[in-house]
Amino acid sequence: MTALLKAENLEVAFGGVKAADGVNLSIDEGEFVAIIGPNGSGKTTFLNLCTGYVRPVSGEVWLDGKPITAMAPRRIARKGIARAFQIPQLFTEHTVIENVMLALAAHRGIWQAFAPLDRPDYRAEAMALLDLLKLADHANAMAGALPEGLRKLADVTVAMALKPRLLLLDEPTSGVSALERFPLMDTLMTAMRAQGVTALFVEHDMEIVETYADRVVVWDSGSVMAEGKPSEVMKDPRVLKSVVGA
């Protein structure tokens, strides 16, 4: 079976610091894979490499067996990789539902110069998605006025409106209070399963990783130090030293 996403020997450096040092990783359809590692180890850089925001010096990225290395982010998005950001990226002067409808329109083709964006089919589909992510009550709120936790969910909703095959989540629970983390992840996981989305998420919270990830990949100094089932990897002394500091 061809991996949904495959990265091979990815290398990139910033000012002499290697952010990706021969990274090899593959993700199968239907997996929920977590990336953990210390700050500055290259986790977000890997997402940037997969989405075309950063071009590798060497190495290749394949989606479904087809190369996507160094394509522009918009081309990769059209091929089925969507992204939610550590700092939510929303159209702050639009309402939440308008953000989602714009993503739906982008997926179907933005070149509609006279049909309105706000039309019944888009609105119904956007509301269904917002309902799935428990944001229906905030559909008409301005995206820029939402609290952090809801903005995170809105950012994921926008990404999911693109009907991606692979969703990349950069620290979905950062900036969210300890009490809200698990409910937020429950909501995200339910929505992703309902939509049949494969996900790769960067996370610092070990409990979150152990609870929700099928597989965990441990990053260190721009390369993969270990990977496997969370319950097994978390026992690895190297991982404990690198990630937990124990």
Binding site: R74, R75, R83, I110, F114, A115, L117, D118, M142, A159
Partner: protein, 318 residues
């Protein structure tokens, strides 16, 4: 919200009736509507956070295209001059825009200014094509093959301009509400997210730039036949600055704003020339200061207030 279309329709009716009460206003208002189209083009780009300091170039391209077709080719029917001028302006917008919409902020503004000054220099120097600093004259065009007296044509031109205002204004309104139009505003707030939705900011802006150039071309064609003479000064940078001033003064939130701004400025200009010629710039400066401090949505904000529109969420402000 329902009051707003009624007020706008009443405003259009008032414009249609104004020359009957004061015939001298017909020419002033024709030129004001013509410049309003160009200011609307500038306002479109302002929605994406881009200030064009060179849009008079496309106004001039439209005017010269109409004059060239009428004088050099000998086709002088307004219903042919207008689409030709719009097509040439749109093409010019597409070509110039393909290069300029890669830039943002001050770079976009100054590059537009630079290209427009090149166009101004070409219009002044290419004597055999543009008539140089003397410009090009346009005889009174026919209208659907009918020869009209100057006064009759001017009257017809005025009412055609008002019909165009309504039709083109509605089309631009539809465009701004469409996914492509909403993506234009999204470029301003979050270009990164837009690209991650699979939407090219460059293409989105190029579409807007081309439409804005076509709008300026409509204005240029109307002004050319109304005035009967096209000059390089149409493309001069002060005219581009005037268009930005008009858009800001009128307000960019609604389609009517740039037209309100243009009519306001042309009327003040006409009055000032007659009664206080030296005070023209002072009056415009004070009016602009008043709008900036008290009317952040431009003069169009006054119309919205009268219509009871209070919900401005999701709309671009000045």
């Amino acid at each position: 919200m329902r009051a707003l279309p009624l007020i706008l329709a009443a405003g259009l009716a008032l414009l249609a009736l104004a020359p009957l009460a004061a015939p001298y206003l017909q020419f002033v208002l024709t030129v004001a509507v013509a410049k309003g189209f160009a200011a609307l083009g500038v306002a479109l780009l302002l929605r994406a956070g881009l200030i064009s300091l060179g849009h008079a170039m496309f106004f001039a391209v439209g005017a010269y295209a109409a004059a060239f077709l009428a004088q050099a080719v000998g086709i002088n029917d307004f219903l042919l001059l207008l689409p030709f001028a719009v097509a040439v302006s749109a093409l010019a917008g597409l070509l110039v825009g393909a290069f300029l919409v890669r830039y943002r902020a001050i770079f976009f503004a100054m590059l537009n200014l630079a290209v427009s000054m090149v166009a101004y220099a070409l219009a002044s120097k290419l004597y055999s094509i543009t008539g140089g600093t003397d410009g090009l004259r346009i005889d009174v065009p026919t209208l659907m093959g009918m020869s009209l007296e100057k006064a009759q044509f001017d009257q017809a031109l005025y009412y055609i301009s008002l019909v165009l205002l309504a039709v083109v204004g509605w089309l631009v309104h539809r465009y701004l509400k469409s996914p492509l139009g909403q993506a234009l505003a999204a470029v301003h707030t979050n270009e990164v997210r837009l690209e991650y939705l699979g939407v090219s900011a460059w293409s989105t802006l190029l579409a807007a730039y081309t439409i804005s150039a076509a709008l300026a071309g409509i204005g240029g064609a109307i002004a050319a036949v109304a005035i009967g003479h096209v000059l390089p000064e149409y493309a001069f940078w002060t005219e581009s600055g005037h268009l930005v001033l008009t858009a800001v003064l009128g307000g960019i939130a609604g389609i009517a704003g740039p037209f309100v701004g243009s009519i306001f400025l042309e009327l003040i200009h006409t009055v000032a020339v007659g009664y206080a010629a030296e005070a023209w710039n002072l009056i415009v400066g004070v009016a602009l200061l008043a709008v900036i401090f008290f009317l952040p949505r431009g003069l169009f904000g006054l119309i919205e207030s009268a219509a009871g529109v209070k919900d401005h969420r999701g709309e671009t402000e000045l």
